[in-house]
């Protein structure tokens, strides 16, 4: 989904950002707190790639593309009719929420600060992007971080790195 759209230079910069050893003091994290607001500070390559991928996922969600709906177990495992009714009842609300949160994520990647509610929405949106990528890559319980990630895998890892920082900034644990 993303490989053909990324230049080798951008991928190399992203991989360096993911695997490179920090020189001297530990650099500040990508999520910066400012009073009751937070903003994200990424390098240009990371910003460009994540914005591109989040935009791609948004297009899929807007179009109702099946690739934007990672598989999930039925809500009513023993009642297909009730399961279908549940999904139908929530489909439009879910779609609208995902689009709004992906729009917010794009704005935050562009430097817009957010409050606590916005930060949580960004966590959900970035996780949304990450889950779609995981489905593309085929991440399952046997998947391990590869020594030489493909472009899609590199972006998946970058999403996980930023997601961890956002979760901690939102008050979640650093497990």
């Amino acid at each position: 989904m993303t490989g053909g759209e990324l230049s080798a230079e951008l991928i190399a910069e992203l991989e360096a950002a993911l695997t490179g050893e920090p020189a001297g003091d530990e650099p500040p994290g990508p999520v910066v707190a400012d009073g009751r607001h937070w903003h994200v500070e990424l390098g240009p390559a990371e910003t460009e790639i994540l914005t591109l991928v989040a935009g791609g996922v948004r297009l899929l969600v807007a179009a109702g593309d099946d690739r934007a709906v990672p598989a999930s177990p039925p809500v009513y495992p023993h009642d297909p009719a009730r399961d279908a009714a549940f999904r139908a009842a929530h489909a439009e609300e879910t779609r609208a929420r995902r689009l709004a949160e992906l729009d917010l994520l794009a704005a935050v990647l562009a430097g817009q600060p957010v409050d606590q509610a916005g930060l949580l929405a960004c966590v959900r949106a970035l996780n949304d992007v990450r889950r779609v990528l995981a489905a593309v890559i085929g991440v399952d319980e046997h998947w391990r971080v590869p020594d030489e990630p493909t472009p899609d895998e590199a972006v998946f890892l970058a999403c996980g790195w930023l997601l961890s920082a956002l979760v901690v900034a939102a008050g979640g644990p650093d497990l």
Binding site: P70, V75, Y76, R124, D174
Partner: protein, 97 residues
């Protein structure tokens, strides 16, 4: 001296119990993509759990494949599942035994 009154029949007072009366369990499923930290944050935000409660449920799902988050009326259970879905988590509802 009047005879003591018979004990009230509680079953008659509250009516028969039907399947619909039984609470519904909200089940969180393990999945290979969501991070442990994200799951804990979601449980804290959605249900007001403290970190220990949220971690307990997360680890139970992680190790056993599933964990019951809480039980209640069907409408609330469905709302809980919708909330978990909004965080990208896998969840279902099932009747309490």
């Amino acid at each position: 001296m009047p005879a003591p009154a018979a004990a009230p029949n509680l079953a008659q007072m509250v009516g028969p119990t039907t399947d619909e009366d039984r609470p519904w369990k909200v089940v969180l499923w393990n999945d290979p993509v969501n991070t442990t930290s994200l799951v804990v944050l979601a449980l804290q935000q959605l249900f007001g759990f403290d970190r220990l409660q949220a971690e307990h449920i997360m680890w139970e799902a992680h190790h056993n494949g599933r964990a019951v988050v809480r039980s209640g009326p069907r409408e609330r259970a469905e709302a809980d599942v919708a909330g978990l879905h909004a965080w990208g988590l896998s969840a279902s509802v099932e009747r309490d035994a």
